[in-house]
Symmetry: C2
Subunit: 353 residues, 2 copies
């Protein structure tokens, strides 16, 4: 194995890289709950300046096994993108359903300034986004959340809603009881009251917030209409690609629906079940005060979340800001940087010597 | 600085990474000319199976200073993309005009299998593509090439055309004589007869092939109509984004025009100067025999090249095949790989211990 960093490579050629190991160090240094809350602040700040961003639906490559996506965005000063896959069958084969990495670059010269793992970071930002949205949409004094789907995202959601919303009790259900046991074990010392349930009906009993987070790549009805009472906030994060939804259509019709970026959500969200003109609200408008969030105790609010590029951008921005503080990164020799930019060929020749 | 690779991270979590330093080792081990020719074979093989590829115009983020692009493609088994910027003003500021990196991943599970610098590799694949196309389009027994624009791509083009086409003489011109001197110096021991010219008119005199490779982000007329005689092949690689062209429109009207991927070339190529229905031929059709390449001695052929995602895919495929042979890579801990794929949270917790 060669040295990663050539001693003679200039500073310009180097890109800070946060590996999975270093990302876990960052999480464990800051603390998962605190880090989620801090990322939520970055996400909220970027939602507040929504019109500044270049927005485009993600670029998806679908295959029978899953999807690979590129999610680019830019605020005019910094460009970012995430590579992410979604392969529902992976879990049974011993792979992660979702893995990801991402990058930030300077818009003015196109040079990357951060490369980071984003499997862990996406888990954090997804939970941060859900809880940040719930600040505007969940009933006041919500204390109990049902968590349907106890996979890789579950504990992050639970921590996020405890830290940001003040949830005290989580009611867990998964069609695989082993997943529920895993989540309950991981949340043991979280300070949450954890209730393991044996049906989704049982899980939603008394819940102020219902989070659905399952990974089937198909139309599934995780929640049926009779399970959703007045006043509840639904945080639906599992329906996130064409043909994949979690909620019965009747629930949508009773709810006020909030999405991240409408052109993408029409394709990927729960609202693919609705007519393309069905009225929904983009979350940023609630955050800036241009639109109403929750306006009554009886209202059912639905955050139909599919994940959007700005959320990854915010999370990467957060990580970049941490680097000088904690040093949990290495520098990768990723960019060719000849003394004379036109002399790429000469640089290769001289490397021979 | 922390260790890059956590000793306990599983094999699944690791992605081979080829740094700039290692890419230069690969080039210097194989030899630049031979490597370009080998990459050309990969590119040609992939052009031959063109219909198998998912093709999409690149996803571009334009700014006043330049462009940042993502170029994804897939052959159904392997997915690849390249990140690349193009910033004409970079050179004057001491940065590369173009820097790039890319990735390959398995389509069946979405896991990355290669991350590589692509600043050097793009230079190689661009030259490889040009010379491969010239096999089908240039006049037989072409021995002299004019090179207008002597920037970072120049020497690679010269080597490619020597190795693949049998060019013996290159006639160099750049508006900046320092660039020409640099290229001439670098090509000293290439075996080519190198002629430094003081005007583009002088450079094209007696040339069988004219390569234009300048970096202005604007409509420029590098070649005017009277400079292009019958029978010449024009290899136009500098006009590669909206509003950036190099050839006078009259030249296009006298030429048979070949492009990589028509929907992208209409936006970015020289043919943005023509009506959207103007007939041009996609190169893959020539390579598979479905369309004619050069058919007469008097014909002017024009390869209006903008660079396409499959070319990067081919080049990355080539690099991936070299790794077991030369070992010039390191493994990056880029993917989270918990023992239980659903237990991402537990993996982070356990990393604390």
């Amino acid at each position: 194995m060669n040295m990663m960093v050539k001693p003679t490579a200039s500073k310009l050629a180097m890109v800070p890289f946060v590996s999975v190991d270093n990302m876990m160090r960052i999480v464990n240094t800051i603390g998962a709950a605190k880090m989620i809350a801090e990322i939520a602040d970055y996400i909220e700040a970027d939602f507040k300046r929504w019109p500044q961003f270049d927005k485009t639906p993600r670029v998806a490559a679908h295959s029978p096994d899953g999807v690979i996506e590129l999610m680019p965005t830019s605020d005019g000063e910094t460009y970012g993108f995430k590579y992410v896959n979604g392969h529902p069958a992976n879990m049974a084969r011993g792979f992660q359903t979702v893995t990801a990495f991402g990058m930030l670059a300077r818009v003015d010269n196109g040079y990357p300034v951060l490369l980071s793992e984003m499997t862990v970071l996406t888990a954090l930002r997804t939970a941060a986004t859900s809880a940040m949205a719930a600040k505007y949409l969940a009933p006041e004094n919500a204390r109990t959340m049902a968590m349907i789907g106890n996979g890789a995202q579950c504990e992050f959601q639970a921590l996020a809603f405890k830290e940001i919303i003040g949830i005290e009790t989580v009611r867990l259900f998964d069609i695989d009881p082993v997943a529920t046991q895993k989540a309950a074990r991981n949340l043991q010392s979280s300070g949450l009251n954890v209730v393991e349930c044996t049906s989704s009906q049982q899980a939603v009993a008394g819940a102020d917030i219902i989070t659905t987070c399952t990974a089937d790549k198909q139309y599934a009805t995780i929640l049926s209409d009779n399970m959703v009472g007045a006043g509840v906030h639904i945080n639906a994060i599992g329906g996130d690609c064409p043909g994949k939804t979690e909620l019965h259509r009747d629930i949508l019709l009773r709810s006020d629906i909030f999405v991240e970026y409408l052109p993408q959500s029409r394709i990927e969200g729960e609202i693919q079940q609705l007519h393309k003109d069905y009225p929904v609200t983009e979350l940023w408008q609630v955050i800036t005060g241009e639109a109403k969030g929750r306006s009554s105790d009886h209202q059912i609010t639905l955050f139909d979340s599919v994940g959007f590029a700005t959320e990854d951008f915010s999370a990467l921005r957060y990580i970049r800001d941490q680097l000088p503080r904690n040093g949990h990164f290495v520098e990768l020799d990723m960019l060719a940087d000849p003394d004379d930019p036109r002399d790429l060929f000469g640089m290769i020749e001289r490397a021979r010597e």
